[in-house]
Symmetry: C2
Subunit: 194 residues, 2 copies
């Protein structure tokens, strides 16, 4: 494991801070204290704060969708794929007992204090995920594994919003265990068995 360059360290620390405290709760001072450089030096890598956040969103999106597409391309059964997809969210919430949520869930909550280029990135991430869920739910329904009422698009919307939104609520009340129960309940509803 080779040493990480400063720019990557800044991104890593900033992401952790935003996932816990939000964009407005993250400051260059906070980052510098962890990385071990002066806050002015951060401006060398990311002149404005929005540059840093934009870079974070791009990196997060690419990593996340790469994993999701790997799940979709696997030979697993639809239920297993869906379980693995939900597992990505569970892993974030459980990571390090530090009350982290999905980067895009936190920014969604702060939507009205963000500049519009960031808003567009957020909307794109939501759309990309719902598209993947539509694909996954359609496959499961065609195979007969999934048996839920209503149309696939609406169900995908519900699943994605519930996963992202539940993270924010579970953090305050119930934590990772509550979130896991909700995921299992979602799966039961999707499978449509009493």
């Amino acid at each position: 494991m080779q040493p990480t360059d400063t720019k990557t360290q800044i991104l890593d620390v900033a992401q952790d801070l935003i996932q816990r405290l939000g964009v407005n709760g993250m400051s260059y001072q906070d980052i510098s204290a962890v990385v071990g450089i002066r806050k002015a030096s951060i401006h060398t890598h990311f002149p404005r704060k929005e540059d840093l956040v934009t870079a974070l969103l791009v990196r997060y999106r690419e990593r996340f969708l790469r994993i999701v597409d790997g799940i979709l391309a696997s030979g697993d059964e639809p239920e297993v794929k869906l379980r693995r997809y939900c597992g990505l969210y569970e892993a974030t919430l459980s990571s390090g007992n530090r009350n982290k949520v999905c980067l895009y869930a936190m920014l969604g909550a702060e939507l009205n204090v963000l500049n519009s280029p960031l808003v567009v990135q957020i909307q794109q991430f939501y759309r990309d995920n719902e598209d993947r869920l539509v694909h996954l739910l359609t496959e499961g329904k065609q195979r007969g594994d999934f048996r839920f009422p209503g149309d696939v698009d609406t169900m995908a919307t519900l699943v994605f919003g519930s996963l992202e939104g539940e993270m924010l609520i579970a953090r305050a009340h119930g934590g990772a265990e509550r979130f896991h129960q909700v995921v299992e309940q979602l799966l039961r509803l999707i499978k449509g068995h009493l």
Copy 2:
């Protein structure tokens, strides 16, 4: 309609600001600009910002649960009661095209930057709502109106988290119409009909 006193005006404006921008996005300066007094004067009514937020949470909780308990005590069928409950969330999201979410959803997202007395109030609100949902879902299940898999407690958790969480996501992508679709989908899942 008699004129509203200053203290109530401050509460009203502060609540609107928090529901749109969050606690850290709301400032005494913002409030004073709308109410029409100087920001120093607000400290007469609420010495510290936390005093203002605490008063807001108490007022919101009492109003909200009073309405919910009215719904539960009505003679409506369980499905109608649930529809009316979800309608409270829809009404907030649709109010004034100003992208408002439930006060407690916003504070849940900001959990890690709030003092612990506020955190306790948030947890209590979540618990109170989930208790009411357990009661409502149990009634519907016993009457045979509701036919969902899994236990009632878990389903109540899912419904509450989905409603609160979806608000935050729907604001960025899909808006009030998306939220309405999700509510209808939730109702289909609870009724358990294909």
